[in-house]
């Protein structure tokens, strides 16, 4: 429930223009995001909360409109529709009740960028030191890692392949610029 006095507009860290080349590099729309922390035992017990699966393997992501990404034994990154932020927070609070958890909204902390199409992994590997081959980093795999000098969360969303890169707001221009620069290698490539 936002107040209506002098309602101001939201200004995101990146202009929402996708690159023309292959792979496509596209800043993603605003989202509701939460850092959810709880003990692994409670996660197993609950299974899911407010439509966000919790019983995922570490370093994996769920799909669907309410997605959870398990980044560690007791840490989940929740991503939902931007308009649902308040509702998500309320539903989660209600679901846990008095059971120990920590929910912190980070909708504005992160910026999402999609990297999609042929050579997407090569472009990411310009700065990401992980093995991104499908065998090692299949669809549904997700982890915090590095891209050049910035920390990112990297999620493989499908077999296009599409990757979602999440980084902190002030690192977004660097991450975006890094990806565009790396993609120049493939400006002349056949796809």
């Amino acid at each position: 429930m936002l107040e209506t006095v002098n309602r101001v507009t939201r200004a995101t860290a990146l202009a929402a223009t996708a690159s023309a080349g292959t792979p496509e590099i596209a800043p993603l729309p605003d989202a509701a995001r939460f850092a959810l922390r709880l003990r692994p035992a409670l996660a197993s017990e609950m299974g899911a909360v407010a439509g966000f699966p919790l019983d995922l393997a570490i370093n994996s992501a769920s799909s669907g409109p309410r997605r959870s990404i398990r980044l560690g034994p007791d840490e989940w990154l929740l991503i939902g529709d931007a308009a649902e932020a308040e509702a998500i927070a309320a539903e989660i609070a209600q679901a846990f009740g008095e059971r120990f958890h920590a929910l912190v909204e980070i909708s504005h902390r992160n910026v999402g960028i999609a990297v999609r199409g042929a050579h997407a992994a090569d472009v990411l590997n310009a700065g990401c030191p992980l093995d991104l081959a499908a065998a090692a980093f299949p669809t549904g795999f997700a982890t915090r890692t590095l891209l050049g000098k910035a920390e990112i969360v990297l999620i493989r969303e499908d077999d296009a392949p599409t990757y979602r890169v999440e980084c902190w707001r002030s690192f977004a221009p660097y991450v975006h610029g890094f990806l565009l620069e790396a993609a120049r290698d493939f400006d002349g490539a056949q796809t």
């Binding site: 570490i58 370093n59 560690g72 840490e75 992980l130 590095l146």
Partner: protein, 94 residues
């Protein structure tokens, strides 16, 4: 660049980690009751072995968990890693 086995995430490049020095140096449970020498040993003295060493690592750009690893300081071979509160099995990784 080392390849460090995070007990939660598996093998990851060293650049994702932050080192934390020698492991298994327990913080005294009641520091106020121990004398200056004992406190100084806790704070400052490390074994710095040539050979096998248990050391703390934090997967800072990964799961962000602290854990311990057994590393040979001569060859840099990492024999095993284990979660905080656990003991090394000592047999090395398969």
């Amino acid at each position: 660049m080392l390849l460090i086995p995070c007990p939660y995430c598996g093998d990851r490049p060293e650049i994702e980690f932050r080192g934390g020095g020698e492991a298994h140096i327990a913080r005294p449970s009641d520091p106020q009751t121990i004398d200056d020498q004992a406190w100084a040993e806790f704070l400052f003295y490390r074994t710095n072995p040539k050979g096998l060493m248990a050391e703390r690592w934090n997967h800072a750009h990964g799961c962000q968990r602290w854990f311990n690893a057994l590393r040979d300081t001569v060859s840099d071979r990492i024999l095993e890693s284990y979660k905080m509160g656990e003991k090394p099995i000592g047999g090395g990784r398969a």
